[in-house]
Chain length 239, copies 6
């Protein structure tokens, strides 16, 4: 049995609140259980220097965590003067994941920055960020369509993310912090609603594990992501 | 008339939610109208090096703002690699204000770090941070009392803060962003519930102004801070 | 009685030497007793990026302290790799204070940087910097007038600064280091010669204090600043 | 057909030269075709602060690339003043991969730092680093055994790494730079000689891809890693 | 007798391998005994900002050392976030030395960056870098001539460098690490093939020394540099 | 003829004011013509970590320049966040030069930091720093003797420094800025009063130069340094 009491294939309660932030062009406050992330999408007329004059757009992400989002207070990265390797890894992952479903040519020469800030952490913050970031980004594109800047939302697919692990020998979906701390493998799956792979990262925690276990986790993730995509569509009023 | 339609001596709607954060020893989510700040108080067994072995405690503060808390997105300080001068000024002010009502000897050799993170900004973020930070800090001390670490809350007074300005010649209380942008003077008052001064900072925006106008703003602030102190006590269940 | 033996309303001996620096467009070596600050004003044709093409000028300030200006040696900020929060606070204050009496439109698109470097410190360095910085800035404008770049000095008023404190219950003017260390309140007043407020910052050191004490300090400062302004005019040969 | 002319399941010519560096306790110069990496393992008596006094050891990795290892010169990270997100991601991956096959308790309280410096780059530098880093680390442990510091090499398994991709629809092994630039998916597999998973990272380049393609790449990687492990054993004289 | 067993005026075995690096426009792997440095020369179309539009070129150098090039591992400068004073001193010396024999006008508006990376260190790394850097730079110019970008190699002379020291009272040429550690004086000579001075740096290690000893070291260096220049010409196929 | 009108072997007017700084244990304000440097020596009970517990002392130096010490304002290094390569080179040179005449064992386990801050620059700042730094350091040792901390000044010799150059073919002593800008060679000599070499650095500016010219400059420097040493002794009251 899982510490959370959930079934092996059960997500935590997930809620998405689009339009949470007053100022941003798009936003979503997402909860995966006690993990709470505020995602905002900000439109910037300038693209990065290496992309100027090509008529293409760019989507990038930044990730942060409030110092006391966690059990014990972490150093504030702004005060330490640099982002940790972990932070950079996560924000690069979020950016790649979101770009994989955007038609960068179709958005024209502009940039959208998706900020994912963890207000409270209980495991799975990067997956919640991608799932909520998709909604914030979609909403920003909707706003640009409503303003006549774009003729259609330039997104080619839906993307969401969920973690899986091997807990006492059993593959389980959507680990919370307590489960994550004692899991034998830690995997993050980023997929489209139809189960196509955008990114998979899996790491053995103590001991290398069997390839069949990766396949079992992938099956759990495929179902979980389909469920998350349904919630994304509902939040965006697309169903 | 003020853009907000408020009377010259009217605060914005103010709410305080103590215990907002799951992990922190003390916390308060405070709203001054559309300005929203999450304040957490974290207990740390280690004091700063220059204070070790003296049997005294320390209270310090850090301040941050989510990149899209504002009308246009600001750079993330962690990504830029340093805190701005404005951020440092504000967090030093918060720390001094809170320490002014703490009996540092009475708290023993420990440190409490108060993090004030602006989730949404509409003027007055430093005042909301001090007002909410007081509640978070008090709550952390209450927790230490309940755990038997301290015998009493080592605070000597209440502290709150509010801004004032001169709007079209008239002194007004608690400026929102629209008012702040066109005010002739910008003042921040940090006081105790009884109107004693902890810190006053006032700045002419375009033109130097009369000393009598500072006195008029101080009167407004004295009343506003008494009102805020009442809300603090209510939030902490002290009345 | 004050440690310095001065009357409550007495400034330390103040001297101003304009033209002290060989290379700068304007300069002033100012002494407030044993506090010695070299202020230079440097003309730069480029304004900050956010001001380009608007036909307006800018005045900014930087502040520094030699490592052994103080009783015990402080770290060199260049070696530590960043300016302290205190340094940034002070240089922002100097810049705002000087800009408050400059007609930025009248100076055209150029920037003047006022550097205030503390050669020796004995309390009141930020006030000496503002008072001396005004003279250096005025002298730089005079030079631009003499070169035919400007038709008149684009300053709308005089500005000077002085500190006050509550020493053993009595408000006193212009604290030196020994007095500052044991004062109950620490205030810095930046005013025009006529007593209009440019900036006031007051902080309780140990205990919150009465509003009437702030008023008493403001009266002392008003007289002290009028005296400093007389010295500024004399130094600039304007009387 | 692949640009390199290799069969889909063919590695590039791979060579390993243990003992390449004069000063290091362990070292290996590894070539994956035109990708050349110098791996050194340095023994340090001090473990990181959070591990002190626990009787356990630590293995960590750092990664770097000479500025002109690549087609066009990259900025020197030491000159820019920070390591890129990519560098940090890679060195964290190398460290995790090596630790997964080390008995940290068995090595006692010491730290081994594995430096992987890319002398020339032609794709697959992180995989070459892990594969060569294993040999350098093993050699350092052998030296500690020969010195009597350890009684046996505290490694529990072999680890190696290889990349795979989808080139024009076909899964292929060990991408060089030209192939990597036009592949549809980019995967890095870190496995033991027996095919147990240590870490898998796969990313869609342009379009999300099928789960079956991940499986196909995993099969190629399993065979490739077995081949690399054979070369590692030969280089270490263990067969 | 010297620890190395060499005669006082004997260089270590020196080898130069031009064209060592696959991607760089010019390169040279140079060995002074166990000191091994990889020098690459990279052509950049952009000159530094202060040189733009003047039709002149620039040559600059960067220097680095692999962390375990030395007996004990040194910190990685990229990880520490800054280059040491020693590194900056050396790379400035290499840049000045190479520029002294380049006709900057003759190369047109372009920049060549010479990277000198120490793969293994045993004393004399800066001298090996200058000597090998000259060959890499020359080769890059040859490439630009062969491409028709330049009509001739814009170098006015040859430059090489060697160290000397006072070992137990005797002036000796080309110190290795063991000799350097116990020498009484440490000198670096950068000269042209004909013995003209480009740069001389000499430092007393323990005690100030006689001017005649500097003269004696200069004589040794003059002969050693003539020998190195012969090897440079041979490596470049210029004899 | 030199621009300064001085004879080839003439120093600029040199003055030394020991005890210039109120707080430092030792200090000297030194003028080489229009080059003015404030040198202070600060005693610190702690030695650098690598020297602890060995009973030996350390002398180190830091160098800085006020932003407008020069003809055009330079960036403030504290604001840029790092010391330039030039600054680091100079402060390392000052430190080595001063240590060469200190008996580090004789001073016991303490550290003296010599700060050399250029108030005004007109060429030769590093030489003035060494010459004035010696006096500040000596004075600090005298103070430690007078306090009974040391029994004698632990200095083994005197040290001073002067620059030389080749101006229009003629070797000249003590270049000012105008001369330095058009000299063909730039040399800095650090010697003892008796002409023993502590450090020599010479650099060709445009074209490599003859070894005989170095010898000629060294003769000028030997006489100039003897003259400076006489002034040092006079300033310290040692004659």
């Amino acid at each position: 049995m899982r510490p959370s009491g959930r079934a092996a294939d059960a997500l935590r309660p997930v809620t998405l609140e689009p339009g949470f932030a007053k100022h941003a062009e798009g936003s979503c406050f997402i909860r995966f259980g006690d993990t709470h992330v505020l995602c905002t999408a900000s439109v910037d007329e300038r693209v990065p220097p290496w992309l100027r004059g090509q008529g293409r757009g760019w989507v990038t992400a930044e990730y942060g965590m409030l110092p006391r989002a966690t059990h014990t207070r972490g150093d504030r990265e702004a005060a330490r003067g640099k982002q940790s390797g972990r932070t950079q890894e996560i924000q690069r992952l979020i950016g790649r994941s979101l770009r994989s479903v955007v038609n960068l040519k179709g958005m024209g020469e502009m940039q959208i920055k998706v900020d994912c800030d963890v207000i409270q952490a209980d495991g799975g913050t990067r997956c919640a960020s991608i799932t909520g970031g998709y909604v914030a980004l979609y909403q920003a594109f909707q706003k640009l369509v409503s303003l006549g800047v774009l003729s259609a939302v330039p997104m080619t697919d839906e993307v969401a993310a969920v973690s899986c692990g091997i807990y006492k020998g059993t593959p389980v979906l959507d680990l919370d912090y307590a489960e994550d701390s004692s899991a034998d493998a830690d995997s993050n799956f980023v997929m489209t609603a139809k189960g196509l792979i955008v990114e998979v990262q899996t790491t053995a925690e103590e001991h290398p594990f069997e390839q069949s276990q990766l396949t079992a986790m992938m099956d759990l993730a495929t179902a979980g992501i389909a469920e998350l995509a349904t919630k994304q569509r509902a939040a965006l009023g697309l169903d």
